[in-house]
């Protein structure tokens, strides 16, 4: 997109940068940014433990933030997904491109596939769907966080936002990292990322936590372990 030339814009750029430089007159001109000390003496990981313990920690922290967590194996995954959609009473499920078809092989539920390059689902269509099923890019045990990077099996950001019920499949242990410092190098900032720690919530009324405002009010996480 081209923006029409704004006569004031370039003037303000020079003006603001000029003021910033003038304000920093005390900084020696030869000083380089990396010469200003940043001591990264903090820990990479707080809870050390084996891969099994990490999955337990993720489970525990997700539950504490009111996500519903289900443990299953790869073989039983379709059954688990079918079961939780049935218990929820969902009539339709939004599916992103690249979602493994076997994940929904245990249920006859109406699929609402998103086709971003052809006809993407409108916000209204997403609003009318009951559930969304996706994978994730990485999960962080210490904070109980799922990160979605709009990649294969995750889809556009809107898919996990508008429907009221989000089912997210996490492959453990390979997608689970212990901490934030270990998660960041695995993520590509050029992709749009959504970090999810429990369902939508607010504490705006007397600082009392209420789950479920605008995002999905129910977050179900399926931890897939073993073969």
């Amino acid at each position: 997109m081209t923006t029409p030339h704004r006569p004031t814009a370039t003037g303000s750029r020079a003006r603001v940068l000029g003021r910033v430089r003038a304000a920093l007159a005390d900084v020696p001109p030869a000083e380089r940014p990396d010469e200003v000390l940043v001591a990264r003496d903090y820990l990479d990981v707080h809870d050390t433990g084996g891969p099994g313990e990490l999955t337990d920690l993720l489970h525990e922290n997700l539950t504490e933030y009111r996500a519903h967590v289900h443990r299953t194996t790869r073989a039983r995954l379709p059954e688990t997904i079918a079961e939780l959609l049935a218990v929820r009473g969902s009539g339709s499920v939004v599916t992103p491109p690249g979602l493994p078809p076997e994940w929904l092989s245990g249920t006859g539920i109406v699929r609402v596939p998103d086709d971003p390059t052809g006809t993407p689902l409108t916000a209204a269509r997403l609003d009318a769907a009951d559930s969304t099923l996706t994978g994730c890019a990485v999960a962080i045990a210490e904070t109980g966080t799922l990160v979605l990077d709009a990649g294969t099996g995750q889809g556009r950001r809107a898919l996990t936002l508008v429907p009221d019920h989000h089912v997210c499949v996490v492959r453990a242990p390979e997608q689970v990292v212990a901490s934030l410092p270990l998660a960041l190098p695995r993520l590509d900032p050029s992709r749009p990322l959504t970090w999810i720690s429990g369902p939508s919530a607010t504490s705006d009324i007397e600082l009392e936590r209420v789950e479920g405002v605008h995002g999905p009010r129910t977050l179900e996480v399926v931890l897939v372990t073993g073969s």
Partner: protein, 476 residues
């Protein structure tokens, strides 16, 4: 010196505003409950991390590095955002930022925008400026919605409606929601779950139909051009994802050098603000992405007094602030006065150092805020980027005293008189004797300008029957 923001004028200075606020029993009770709840939770969340001090130090150092080399990082950011398909605009002051945003909205042909909670857009009075251009801005954060519907002012950085209790919110929703869109459900009670549901229903169609959104940014990554917005409700995701055009307004100090630096701030910010290990939703985006989210992204970089703040080598550290609001929640002054008394969108201890620096110390409000503190230092202890707020407060008091003014002239005269008496022992002795003899006749409060103000809230020390010097003469 940039022009003071128009939203800033017209409020009483802190002492007058606080005078009324501390007498509001309901407000005192609401504020006490809220601040104590959150401060205890924060302490527990922070205690979970054995390396909190190291994270705090690293956060402060990262911000110092950025501030000392701000031109470098701003230019790097601009280049990265542009490369990723975004457009960067520079605004020297509030008026210019508002003009840029209004023009960008007009270019889309829309007359409504949905807004993510943002301190920067409040600071510049964007909603009012857009309204003057016939553009309606809908606040979508629950607390901001309460403030907007109630024609109120925010009183807390994180929870702008912290001064409202559930019954008041119920009333506001019942009476005002219809003016802005979908009416509140019938039989709406004051149950927070029901109130949140009412907000969800009220805003739903706005989100689904919105074409333009305005947001702030918690962090901007210079290296990659990535924007970061941290939130809880999902209103942020709605605004950042569904509209065609996204306009982000952020202060120039929000930039941080690298993607990796988030490993510090995303650990310290949620624990300091909402006392959570991680907030429910964090969105990051870089320019525009084909087929996902807005097709046009504009970043408005705002100065509006920040360079004046940067020029002060002591006061500069206030620009490290990541707007967590931990300092508000622990402040004994804020707890008792509430946020409105500070007369600015930035209340509490950080507001007392930020507002006078952004808008100047010439105004009555600006000159009064650095005194809105007992200098107890609780704010410094909890600050996740180690801003020494008491140090900046004292420094600002010094600047204010230097610029003079009525109070300071009296103070100087009093100190000069005291100096003369102390230099003349005979005069001191006579004075002491007179004071002791008349002690029963002395009032508890002093009359006159300055003295009356001082003794209104402080007891005068009782004079002893005789002075130490007299006692010494008799007993040595």
């Amino acid at each position: 010196m940039s022009a003071p923001s128009e939203t800033f004028l017209g409020f009483p200075a802190f002492p007058e505003a606080a005078h009324d606020a501390v007498r509001d029993r309901e407000l005192r009770r609401t504020m006490r409950h809220a601040t104590h709840t959150i401060r205890d939770k924060r302490a527990r969340a922070v205690a979970e991390l054995a390396d909190w001090d190291e994270l705090r130090t690293a956060g402060a150092q990262l911000k110092e590095r950025t501030l000392r080399h701000l031109p470098h990082y701003l230019e790097q950011l601009e280049e990265a955002v542009t490369r990723a398909g975004g457009t960067v605009h520079w605004a020297a002051d509030a008026a210019e930022a508002n003009r840029i945003v209004a023009e960008l909205v007009r270019e889309t042909g829309e007359q409504e925008v949905v807004k993510v909670k943002s301190m920067a857009t409040q600071e510049i009075g964007l909603n009012e400026a857009l309204a003057a251009e016939d553009i309606t801005a809908y606040e979508t954060d629950l607390a901001e919605l309460i403030v907007q519907l109630g024609r109120d002012r925010p009183s807390h950085i994180l929870v702008p409606a912290i001064h409202r209790d559930r019954r008041q919110i119920q009333e506001i929703f019942r009476e005002r929601m219809a003016d802005w869109g979908r009416t509140a459900p019938e039989n709406l009670t004051d149950d927070p779950v029901q109130l949140a549901e009412a907000a969800r229903l009220h805003l739903r169609e706005k989100f689904l139909n919105a074409r333009v959104a305005v947001s702030g940014a918690n962090f901007m990554i210079a290296e990659t051009g990535t924007m970061v917005v941290v939130e809880s409700e999902g209103n942020g995701r709605m605004c950042l994802t569904l509209p065609d055009t996204l306009i982000t307004v952020a202060g120039i100090e929000k930039v941080v050098p690298t993607w990796r630096d988030l490993e510090v701030f995303l650990q310290t910010l949620p624990r300091s603000s909402t006392a959570e290990r991680m907030n429910p939703y964090t969105s990051t985006w870089t320019g525009t992405t084909d087929g996902d989210g807005p097709r046009a992204f504009h970043l408005v970089l705002l100065d509006n007094g920040r360079t004046d703040t940067l020029a002060d080598q002591v006061g500069r550290q206030a620009l490290r602030c990541i707007r967590c609001s931990a300092c508000l929640n622990v402040c004994p002054v804020y707890e008792r006065t509430g946020g409105h008394a500070y007369g600015s969108v930035y209340p509490g201890p950080i507001g007392a150092v930020l507002t006078p620096q952004l808008h100047g110390i010439q105004s009555e409000v600006g000159a009064s805020l650095p005194y809105a503190s007992s200098l107890c230092g609780a704010c410094y202890d909890v600050c996740p980027v180690a801003i020494d707020i008491p140090e900046v407060l004292v420094h600002l008091r010094e600047r204010i005293a230097e610029q003079g003014g009525k109070g300071h002239r009296l103070e100087k005269a009093a100190v000069n008189a005291a100096g003369w008496v102390l230099n003349h022992p005979r005069a001191l002795e006579v004075g002491e004797r007179l004071a002791s003899l008349t002690r029963r006749l002395q009032p508890k409060r002093l009359p006159g300008p300055g003295a009356a103000q001082w003794t209104r809230s402080r007891d005068l020390p009782e004079l002893p029957a005789r002075s130490f010097r007299a006692w010494w003469k008799e007993n040595r």
